[in-house]
Subunit: 343 residues, 4 copies
């Protein structure tokens, strides 16, 4: 029997509702390239949920693709983007942004989150124009790559700072569902739409086979985005595949239920570690947790479960990363908690 | 009731076997990024079918993506690619290749097919080195964008010419199934593998929801291709979605059966037009046909069917394009033929 | 003794006035990067001569550099530029424009000049948005690469067409001096400034050691151009070298005198061929002429002079290219004419 | 009267020998694009001086241009370059390297110099292939942007580390003359040639009007470099301008005499500050020094001299940067030292 994997939130297929919808619609002829009825309906539902009728919404396949599309469509050749060093674009996308011609500034942060002070520090060291790149875009992830989230006050400050400094604000929402359903969250989808210029809702890590919904609220950034999608090879002939999935995820808030489920499962496991007195690399409230264990404890848990050893603390101890998903069952969580209680 | 559309071969979803496989495998945990078991099995089946164990096979989402990945991974900054003017990369990909930094030479051809003479003409006019780009890659489509196919002798000559001139040969196989099952075809998958350096097998236009299988047979071109896939945003987290589809398509030659079906349906319609004495823009034997009709005939057929008016011949006549697919039913074909017989 | 070369107009150094100015200013300390006094004075003189105070003027090193800077600074990633097939950017810059990410449409012309009809033909075949690149810029050379020039009516029509179609018009003026001093010219520098959005005045081919003056008259294209110059490696630390040269060339219209001299020398040679009844590949009135000679005549002339065999006409005859320059002396021209008279 | 400027080493024109040579050769016809006799002779002299006959040598205009040419010609799309954070490519070239598609890793160093440990730290955090860029090139400057130099042992260790890790080593030699003539230097030009794969000899900051000599010693990096020069707009039609300058600079070791002169002048000023007990931001032995002064001292010196305030130390004190050059006269140095003695 294979071990259960807590390695990531894309180990399974998709929510059954999506499969049912694929079957039901399979032989209905539709226009290609995102002009199908399902995509239209999905766009309409998203607009309703964020209470923002003027947004442009584009469905594409994955996070790296979304990031490079958005960033390369916005920046002129001499402009750059500011990110946390832990940001996906800075470290985990094989230089995808640089490949489109733009520098990414990577900033050291405590918790994967940017503040106005971080960004100001970049502006302060790039005043020798035109010998240095010009910062034009700020990239944040919510939830971040280390499991943390932005609260409303933080995002408001960031948004105000960007506006004051003629910077666009772009939110990578590969795990935005998890952020918005975290127990400590105080942001709404409507807040995100009004505080950022462009963001995306991740499907791949929240119950879809693939798919991210790029949502552009700033009119200046909307123009001719379709050209970029096509040019970067991101326009699916059968765009219906993306539309159908987002339509199902948006119906009855399935998207948020799935995200909340993944958070709840992670929090149960977090409690189990806390009850045993374990420390964590960072205090997270989404579907990623980073408990610190000693080597023999890690070895013990590895017998029946798969996970990443995230960071070596010292010779005896390491933080591991556990990720839960929409598909993580109560049974698996209970079984794992049972093993934790025996550590 | 909506009209039946002959506009393209990606108006429906996918072959039912794929949906069944998606359901059956849905909750099985798998590695991401193409390292799942289904992708492995699909790669194995493809290698068997082309009798070439040493190929590298990568599954990605679509044709433009495949083209830009292959071409940008091969060429150094000063190198260019030669294509027919009708080639997808020259005219229908929003400058995707140029966006990666490379010139595409577009050649006027009679039938969408390149010959050694075409390529020699580019070499002859680019001898002023280093003031002109260096040709390094030849791009052909089979079947072509105008429905024609390469026969064995033609591909052998092209392949020999490329080898003699230190050029790589790349075949866009978005509709390779249709080419290989055309009634006039004399090429095998094994021939394609041995006569080209890299090619792809199209899934999107032959029964998959999405997906193209890039097959690299030249060892020099294999190196580190995965980096390119990731960098261009083409690496799906749930690579299983592509693996499952190609696995189903390769089982029992479903892929070729579907392609043949689309060809047969087109040939039936072609015969119907021929029987009525219509001319064609080009003589095709795959799933695209281009009959020339007068305006009132076009209007008549448009009442119940959708298709593109492809090229205006004169004030009274135009060629239309009709595309059939794996999903085009006998009933629809008969109904359409019925209408043709009344023209 | 070496043969005299008519191969190009950059075989010698520079006009003596420039050398004198270099000596005179050599030890005066100046700001770098184009902020020196000589560059300021040169910009002022150019503005006066074209009667256009609001232009932005930047001095850079060469034609390919000017072309790639202007074009890449203007176009967004999905936009393209239209050129004659003979245009320098299409064929003789090693794919410099494509290397910045943009497609160049190459159009077959009779005489190296674009008309509204040419451009319209590109627009007509690129209506399938967003699957095709968007044309945004028209590139013309004056004088062209085949020695012809635009007359006022032609440039007015082109300019009007571009404005009507939301296209920018860019003139490559590597040999603009020769164009404006041609005996058939009816355009002024002021006309050029008002009918184009951006153009440049070539120094390299008209008496400078190196240098082109990029002149931007459209306000939309001025923004932050300095960043592009620096990023492309085109910003000289000692910008004074360019400023000093353009200052000398602009003083007392030396620039136009030198250009006219090169034209006059070419026209004398042209007359010599005409008097002997020779035909020409094209009828030019600038410093490039293309007489058609038979092989033995070519061999004869080659004994004492160097030039390019430009185009084979048939087995017996070829067009040769002869280029004169600011430095071509009366003695050399007379000597060459003497040889022509003996053919 | 204008103040004397210690702001940089490119405030004057060029060494008089160069002007004389320009005059002497001015009307001699030469081939373009670097194929002139002077360039050939200059290449020969450089090869002799570094005792390396197999190098390829290319003359281009400036440092940013040299950097982007070398780096973009070497790296494949997914490969990156490692630099100190103070490295010119990381911070002062408007993203020139990223504009060619490549990530630059910026490392915090004490003195602007990279060690194997620095590079190893990047390799260690980039093991998640293919999700992260692949390091392929190490960029060092000698002398560095903060005036320090590599000694032989350091460069040997770096070179060995690069070879062991399949990394190329590239030295930015914009001020290589100053490094090699520094009083603490123990490297020879021959060492540089054998310990790096490619480097350049800077002319712009050492007595030329413009020009850097790119020297490629690794055979793998030589191939088709001319195409890159042309494509990036870096190929001067009158390449003679660069050849003549390097020929003059190489004759009788003028290049090294000029560099040494600039170092000596800086060291005299350094001694003056040391004698008065001033501290320095870093201990340098080339033509850049960074003494720390209080605000009133800075104000006093500013009355008759120009220089940059480099780094604020606290409210009362800042480091200033003083740069001397081949053209800095003894008189100016004495005058300045006189003022220092009065602080």
């Amino acid at each position: 029997m294979k071990k259960y994997s807590f390695k990531n939130d894309y180990s399974e297929g998709c929510h059954p509702n999506i499969l049912e919808a694929l079957i039901k619609t399979n032989l209905v002829q539709q226009n290609g390239y995102g002009y199908d009825e399902y995509s239209d309906q999905a766009r309409e539902l998203i607009k309703q949920k964020m209470n923002h009728q003027n947004a442009d919404i584009h469905f594409i396949s994955g996070g790296t693709q979304a990031n490079l599309l958005v960033i390369s469509s916005i920046l002129r050749p001499h402009e750059s983007v500011v990110s946390a060093e832990t940001g996906h674009i800075f470290t985990n996308e094989t230089g995808a942004i640089e490949a489109t011609g733009h520098k990414v500034h990577g900033l050291v942060t405590e918790d994967g989150k940017l503040t106005p002070e971080h960004i100001q520090s970049v502006l302060d060291t790039h005043t020798n124009k035109p010998h240095q790149v010009k910062q034009k875009l700020v990239y944040v992830s919510n939830s971040t790559e280390v499991g943390t989230i932005y609260i409303k006050k933080e995002l408001q400050e960031l948004s105000a700072f960007c506006k004051a400094n003629d910077l666009y604000l772009f939110m990578d929402g590969a795990r935005l569902g998890q952020a918005l359903t975290s127990e400590i969250n105080d942001l709404t989808l409507e807040d995100i739409a009004s505080l950022t210029d462009v963001f995306y809702l991740g499907g791949t890590k929240n119950g879809a086979l693939l798919g991210e919904a790029i949502i552009i609220t700033n009119d200046k950034l909307k123009e001719e985005f379709g050209f970029h999608i096509k040019q970067k090879g991101a326009m699916l002939a059968k765009g219906r595949l993306l539309g159908i999935q987002f339509l199902e995820l948006m119906k009855n808030d399935l998207y948020f239920d799935l995200a909340k489920h993944s958070n709840v499962q992670a929090m149960k496991i977090k409690s189990a570690f806390q009850n045993k007195g374990f420390q964590f690399l960072s205090d997270t409230f989404t579907n990623q947790i980073f408990p610190i264990l000693n080597n023999s404890q890690i070895e013990k848990l590895s017998e029946n479960f798969d996970f990443y050893i995230w960071k070596k603390i010292d010779e005896e101890n390491s933080a591991i990363r556990l990720i839960t998903s929409w598909a993580t069952s109560d049974e698996v969580v209970e079984e794992f908690i049972g093993e934790v209680s025996l550590l």
